[in-house]
Amino acid sequence: MVIIDNLAKNYGGFRLNVSMEIPNGTVTGIIGKNGAGKTTIIKAILGLIRPDEGHVTINGIESTALSGADKAGIGVALSDSGFSRYLDLKDVICILKKMYPTFDEDFFRKSCAAQGLALDKKLKDYSTGMHAKLRVLTAISHKADLLIMDEPTAGLDVEARNEILDMLRQYLSDNENCSILLTSHISSDIESLCDDIYLINDGKIILHEDTDTVLSNYAILKVNDDDYEKLDKSYILSTKKENFGYVCFTNEKQFYVDNYPDIIIENGKIDDLILMMTGGK
């Protein structure tokens, strides 16, 4: 279980201040635009940076005091950092074998072959997609209980994204108790994988909700000016002015479905969440 207790970190003009909990066995997503603070949170959890205030603990151990044995149970994939590009896959296998006692070489080799990652190719000749797949495979090949992934599918075409998500789904299926924390700005990935999501903007968490609740209780209402006047706004979270009238965002879809059968109601998606909660009134 990862507990982030009032973590505060300052970078020049930017200030991060968040609290979160990731219980065992959950898949949690952190979503937000670039610069919102997602990577800072990840780095704080992994002990790469020191909090200015607050505490981050993994299973009760401070992240700045994680031992080698603790880290062996964490699978990590960072968006812009990996093995040296001068190495090839054979080198990577040798290194992983000696680094992680629980490294499953057979699984790693088979998966790399299945994903088209050649053993002899130097990492500097890998495509973006191959790098991303290698990073994810590295993280899931040593039976880690906790996976921490920073934008695992960023910059990838939809096929590669799906392949990576399927890898993660398979891992979740094979390891019933494992937890995943991932950050992304690709909503569809989060929707199909995560149990709950944190929406972060400008260094603060502005929403924490179960994915299921977002997809079933949140909705977009599209109304013209007249209907907007008559609308009961008690459950409207935010509103945006449009040409045709207004777009409203609510977390009580059923109320509006029941009471306003004529207005256009669309299922809320995470993209809507982001746009309406960070941009609207």
């Binding site: 062996a72 960072l78 812009d80 040296s84 000696k98 992680y100």
Partner: protein, 216 residues
Amino acid sequence: MLGLLVKDLRITLTRKYALLIILFISLIMSLSMEGPFIIGYLTMIALMLAVSTIAYDEMDNGYAFMMTMPFSRKAYVREKYLFCLISALIAWCIGAIIYCGIYLYRNDVSAIMEQLPAQLVLIPVFFVLPAIMIPLQLKLGAERSRIATYIIFGLVAGIIITAKRLFGNADLPLDPEIALDGFSPVLALIAIVAVCLLIAFSSYLCSARIVMKKEF
């Protein structure tokens, strides 16, 4: 720490062409020169190559991912010194073998017996190089530490030249050469090794503190 050693070894081996060229050139040089030059040369090169693994770690933002792997920050620092030591030992042995090979071929066993044992002192003495370079590179990064190295060596050279010019001709109350003559070579050797060990250990403490504070 084993994983780190494997990593540094594999990184170094990717430079196999450079390694072979160095070996080849040093072979030619040692054939055309007298004395056990090759041993010191290879040892020094090995130490420089070993220290340069820090630059490789830094490349492409590699530190962030690397530091999430299962080892402590102190272990990272320890491994660098260990890797330098192992590299120096291996290079020294290779150099020694080549040197012996050449002199045995020339049937000059006495030369080997005279000069080889003294060469052992090169390992601790040359180790002063990584002792300075490692904390420097860890603190400043590869690029800036290179500039810092030039400055440091320039300063040291400047001090030596200035000192020589100032004191070279004057009468010293204690002539260093005469003073040292009194000591047995073994004692002198022990003293030198002790000083080098002290320097290496302080360097390690320095590096450990730098890495513990670092943010990735």
